[in-house]
């Protein structure tokens, strides 16, 4: 399953380096429960189907979302306004696009367009009966973090 996860990690590192100019370090992964409450303010969901099914979610706090938007546009933001959501959506689009290129060539996979979810403490309805989700925290800008959560399972026969 790493073979599906690792490309997302690599793409995140590359996209943030090339477009935001920030060096990312993936931290030690851990598990989180499907029903665990989370403290994120904005999430992007990228669906996967084909030889493996599931979803990859990138979640972050408002503060980081504003910081990233600031880095991209130069303006200061303090709230999750339309411009912030657009900016985050753009980064996620690039990530999904790059991941699509790599994964769809190497595996029999189809990657969906990303969907953005926002709101304090929102929850993501995970597909398939997966009980656990693997979370990979990323360290960015001195002390901020965002999280790449993955729930993928190999589909039988498909």
């Amino acid at each position: 399953m790493e073979k599906y996860i690792q490309p997302f990690v690599d793409v995140c590192v590359n996209v943030f380096r090339d477009f935001v100019g920030a060096e990312l370090t993936p931290e030690r992964p851990h598990f989180s429960n499907k029903d665990d409450l989370n403290e994120w303010d904005i999430s992007a969901v990228i669906g996967l189907t084909g030889e493996a099914r599931g979803a990859v979610v990138i979640s972050m706090k408002k503060q980081l979302a504003c910081h990233l938007t600031g880095t991209l546009t130069g303006a200061t933001h303090s709230d999750l306004d339309e411009e912030v959501v657009d900016a985050i959506g753009e980064i996620i689009n690039i990530i999904a696009g790059n991941a699509k290129r790599g994964l769809e060539e190497a595996f029999r996979l189809v990657i969906s367009l990303p969907t953005i979810v926002k709101g304090p403490g929102h929850s993501v309805q995970w597909p398939n009966g997966q009980a656990r989700i693997i979370c990979i925290p990323f360290h960015i800008f001195e002390s901020e973090t965002f999280c790449l959560s993955v729930a993928i399972e190999a589909s039988n026969g498909a």
Partner: protein, 670 residues
């Protein structure tokens, strides 16, 4: 130099005679046309020269009109020579030459010549005209000449010569005979030509069909000779299947040199010899075919394919035997086959693990699941700690996985235990290097997730099983503990070839109720296993020492002054201090044996991580986790360990721990 000059002259001569048209000497199809060209050119030279001579003579002898006519005829033949060298049709030059030649013949016949021999020329005419101009035109011109000659020989006054009637009849008769013979000959030739053309056509159609089939065949088809050389007429698919181009003339053995070992290639050559010699029947040859299925990589190093070849001997017209080979790409087929067998073995493994699961007492299994979940939670907690170093995290995961594995082994969950064992091996490898990369830790995470999925499966299963046996005979906590430990003893006895029993001296239910049940179980399992591996001797050894054949491990769990006291004793060999010292130096845990003179420092080593006197790690012990784990757990519980050992008599572990905080609040706060 001379040779080349000669050759050049020859070439010029050839070019003149064949009008510079490209003819290949070997090509029999164009031979006919070449001969016609040479003949026509010869006629042009002969007839032209004669016409020029006659023309000049006529002018000299005072017949200028006659002379001019002859010369113009000669000019026409010369023109025909030039036209013949262009792309203009052959028939044009043919007419331009044959008509003057007819005139010439007519003139010679009419003029008579020496003793009337001029008529002799006419006999060549039907042959030449029909050969060069074809049936219709040839016959027409020959007939015209026949009339002219007839007029000359029969009608007096037409020719200056006077011909006898009998001579005239013979002259005309022979001419007609020659003409008829030529017609018959030409007709026969035409029929034959048509037949050949039809045959060629049929062959062409047939060959096209075969080529079409060969080129559209999905299977590579080829012939090889005695030297294993691939013959030119192989099917197109061969190049695709073998991922090579220009296979013509290559050795089939060489083409396979990237895919087969030297030995296999030799076997293949032996096999080819058998095919050439027809040593066995077709079925037999197919059965022993070494290339029935093999992994193929082309010489250019394309990706690996699975191919299937078959071979059969073929007789060719030249009396030589060839091998007809077919080669098919069966990669997809092989992949499916493999997938199928993988799924089959997966299913079998599932069945096996299902049987393993239903063999375990459901209450004990639930206990195992709870323990496993607890260990997993522990792992996850430490994984979440960002500031913890990777090596500590790996070590912690390692210990927990080991603990889960030990439990799985006890319960006889072999397939689950094997998976845990593999992960444990990987973790041990990681523990040895300081830096653990993200990829490695991600891999471990994914593997853990897989294991947890299996656990989820157990949980689901146990839920179903428990739904069947409702309530009947619920085991008490202490019974679960005792039963588990008995399983440890049983399992270890079987695997180590020892005999032992577990005797329960006393188990105070309060201790179990208020104590950290899981930790107690874990610690006891490690200690019992330790006793079984290192304490209890083999039956024959015990008999030799005058002990009972069956070893005895005694367990006491009691409440002593509000503390839980666990005592586990065995009547084994006791601690072998010398062996421990030696091993400690070997594992570089201490610099020198001298450092371990007093027994208490030896005991410290015994509980150190990574220490084990067993040479090889197996499912039971030898990784040096056991006693280290005991120490860690007891430390966490704020307890103490005492160890008594008497050489040859046995070892006693005494562990004292406080009861759980919330259980005895009143007592504890006092």
């Amino acid at each position: 130099m001379q040779a080349s000059e000669k050759k050049q002259k020859m070439n010029i001569f050839l070019s003149i005679m064949t009008s510079g048209k490209p003819f290949y000497q070997r090509d029999e199809a164009t031979m006919d046309t070449m001969v016609r060209h040479i003949l026509l050119n010869s006629m042009i030279f002969l007839g032209g020269t004669l016409l020029v001579i006659f023309g000049l003579e006529s002018i000299k002898s005072g017949a200028p009109i006659q002379g001019m006519f002859d010369l113009s005829m000669a000019g026409m033949t010369l023109l025909a020579f030039v036209i013949l060298r262009t792309a203009a049709p052959f028939i044009l030059s043919g007419f331009m030459t044959v008509v003057p030649y007819m005139m010439l013949c007519a003139f010679l016949a009419v003029s008579g010549g020496v003793q009337g021999s001029g008529v002799l020329w006419i006999y060549s005419f039907p042959l030449l005209s029909i050969f060069l101009l074809g049936m219709k035109s040839g016959i027409a011109l020959s007939t015209v000449l026949l009339f002219i000659v007839s007029a000359a020989v029969f009608i007096p006054g037409v020719s200056p010569m006077k011909f006898e009637t009998s001579f005239a009849l013979r002259t005309v008769g022979v001419y007609i005979l020659v003409l008829v013979c030529t017609i018959v000959y030409e007709q026969t030739k035409l029929v034959k030509d048509r037949w050949v053309a039809r045959l060629t056509n049929a062959l062409q159609v047939e060959r096209d069909e075969i080529t079409a089939m060969k080129d559209n065949l999905k299977v590579g088809l080829f012939l090889i000779n005695r030297d294993y050389i691939i013959q030119p007429q192989y099917s197109k698919a061969l190049e695709t299947v073998m991922a090579e181009t220009d296979l013509n003339g290559k050795s089939f053995i060489d083409v396979l040199s990237n895919s087969l070992q030297k030995k296999e290639l030799e076997t293949l050559q032996d096999y080819f010899t058998m095919v050439f010699n027809r040593s066995y029947d077709t079925q037999m040859l197919e059965d022993i075919n070494p290339l029935h299925q093999f992994k193929y990589t082309s010489l250019t190093g394309s990706e690996e394919k699975t191919l299937r070849c078959s071979f059969a001997p073929i007789d060719r017209e030249d009396g030589k035997v060839y091998i007809l080979g077919t080669v098919e790409d069966t990669t997809r087929e092989a992949e499916l086959q493999q997938q199928l067998s993988e799924e089959e073995s997966k299913r079998q493994e599932e069945m096996r693990s299902l049987f393993e699961v239903i063999h375990v007492e459901p209450r004990v299994l639930s206990d195992f699941i709870v323990d496993t979940e607890y260990e997993f939670e522990r792992i996850n907690e430490i994984m979440k700690k960002r500031d913890e170093s990777s090596s500590i995290v790996v070590n912690c995961i390692y210990q927990s996985v080991h603990a889960i594995k030990s439990n799985a082994v006890i319960l006889g969950l072999q397939s689950f235990a094997t998976k845990l064992h593999l992960l444990e091996d990987e973790l041990r490898g990681l523990r040895e290097h300081m830096d653990v990369s993200f990829q490695e830790i991600l891999h471990i995470t994914v593997e853990l997730e897989k294991l947890m999925k299996i656990k989820d499966g157990f949980k689901e299963l146990i839920g179903k099983i428990l739904a069947f046996n409702t309530g009947d005979g619920k085991l008490q906590e202490e019974h679960v503990l005792v039963q588990t430990l008995e399983r440890v003893v049983q399992k270890a006895s079987d695997d180590l070839g020892k005999r032992a029993r577990l005797t329960i001296a006393k188990v105070d239910p309060r201790a179990i109720e208020h104590g950290p049940r899981r930790a107690i179980k874990e610690v006891l399992m490690q200690l019992v296993r330790n006793s079984m591996t290192h304490g209890i001797e083999k039956p024959e050894e015990r008999l030799a020492r005058g002990k009972e054949e069956e070893g005895c491990i005694t367990l006491t769990i009691d409440m002593v002054k509000d503390r839980i006291e666990i005592k586990l004793s065995d009547d084994g060999n006791g601690l072998d201090f010398d062996a421990i010292r030696k091993k400690a130096v070997e594992l570089s845990l201490v610099g020198d044996e001298a450092e371990l003179q007093d027994k208490s420092s030896v005991l410290k080593i015994l509980f150190a991580p990574g220490f084990s006197t067993t040479e090889k790690a197996d499912m039971h012990s030898g990784r040096g986790v056991g006693l280290n784990l005991v120490k860690e757990r007891v430390k966490e519980l704020k307890g103490t360990i005492k160890l008594q050992s008497e050489d040859g008599k046995g070892t006693v572990f005494i562990i004292s721990i406080p009861p759980e905080q919330d259980a005895l609040t009143g007592v504890q706060t006092a």
